[in-house]
Subunit: 204 residues, 2 copies
DNA sequence: CGATAGTGTTTAATATATCAATCGGGCGGG
DNA sequence: CCCGCCCGATTGATATATTAAACACTATCG
């Protein structure tokens, strides 16, 4: 009953909401995008979270406001903490590609440092150097593991597939994504490709 | 029924929880401390949040897991966002005083910069210079307003009361607190007291 | 075409959170 | 001492979230 619209900030006493009046909670859409980027169905996610697909459906439609416990279980399936989820302002980091032009330079002049991924917040990365011969490939099955991954193409071109998105990156381009996103690297060109990459062990 | 203990991570399928098994959600204690530091009763907080004291009581005892909407309403009464709350790892910043000895120096040598408040995260402060004559006082009623406040005592001594805590600070000592905490400054000594202080407008 | 397996959504039943009201306790003042 | 007032905790009723099972739809396969 009381077919109200799951809003907040306009309670009986209106707790001096400093955000606008009757701001809706829009977690649902973000959770849905998050799930879709991870290539999961509602049932898969439900199984991982120890819940039912129906609940996932209702939450994604903003028809209910999940309990903190439920939300935490859902986020655990993505390897996200509540802090990480909310610190992204309900907009989980779905951006994976950063072109050479829109990397932020944190140093210039004789030494140029370009930072991949606008806001490197709590990230501690381990740097690697990879070389892909023509046809080189990380394998036909998508990789998916704990941690985060980032890198820059130094020479040649490489086809990178992350969470359904696929792009060919060239020299100067970079990438950043959560390693749980199913990903794959393929050198589809005719010359060697070098990448300076970095990844995190699951140690945080 | 089913008198289980409000745990998580040990669901039917145990969603690969990387924190230990059956980790309890301990928001309740932190919310209680937060409320007490603000000098509120459960009923006061309930009124601000548009809820009932009973619900607050249950939440603080971890007898229920509040919905995200409810938690957001509660945090709004403290001027906290979900992101801020969770980014503090469920341990809201209750530390208010920083003695001269345990301030972190972020520069030394000819120029010495000492940082008040260990982690100045999202803080943008506006600096002031205050002078308290002997007996000088911000008034008998506690101040409480939007924003954050920080400062350093330059000369003399001053009695600072914040969120129930009261201390006399001397030269080199500092303070940092959320301005919503009821606070008051009193020069109880016999000499002039100077403070370099800073505060934020409510513009973020 | 019919069967099967996949998707997201919906429904009734159940578990849980929240409300409204009460309870017992502490504290200060007649 | 008792009274009023406030506190936090508790109880039963009500609203909400979640479950379990169905539904409707799409695509694939035989």
């Amino acid at each position: 009953m009381m077919a109200k619209m799951l809003t907040e900030g306009a309670g009986p006493h209106d707790a001096k909401s400093e955000d606008g009046p009757t701001v809706q909670i829009q977690m649902g859409e973000n959770l849905r995008r998050l799930r879709q980027v991870y290539g999961m169905s509602q049932r898969e996610l439900a199984r991982l979270a120890g819940m039912t697909n129906g609940a996932i459906s209702m939450i994604e439609q903003n028809r209910v406001s999940p309990s903190v416990a439920s939300l935490k279980k859902i986020l655990a399936a993505f390897g996200l903490s509540l802090a990480e989820f909310f610190s992204n302002d309900f907009k989980p980091d779905t951006r994976a590609f950063y072109r050479a032009a829109d990397m932020t330079r944190i140093a210039d002049g004789p030494l140029v440092l370009r930072q991949v991924g606008a806001g490197l917040n709590h990230r501690k990365l381990q740097v690697l150097h990879e070389t892909y011969a023509p046809g080189g490939d990380t394998g036909p099955t998508m990789l998916s593991h704990e941690g985060e991954e980032s890198g820059v193409v130094v020479r040649g071109n490489i086809e990178v597939t992350v969470g359904g998105q696929c792009q060919v990156l060239g020299p100067g381009d970079g990438y950043y994504f959560n390693s749980r996103l199913p990903h794959r690297f393929r050198n589809t060109g005719t010359e060697v490709c070098e990448i300076v990459s970095a990844c995190t062990p699951a140690t945080f």
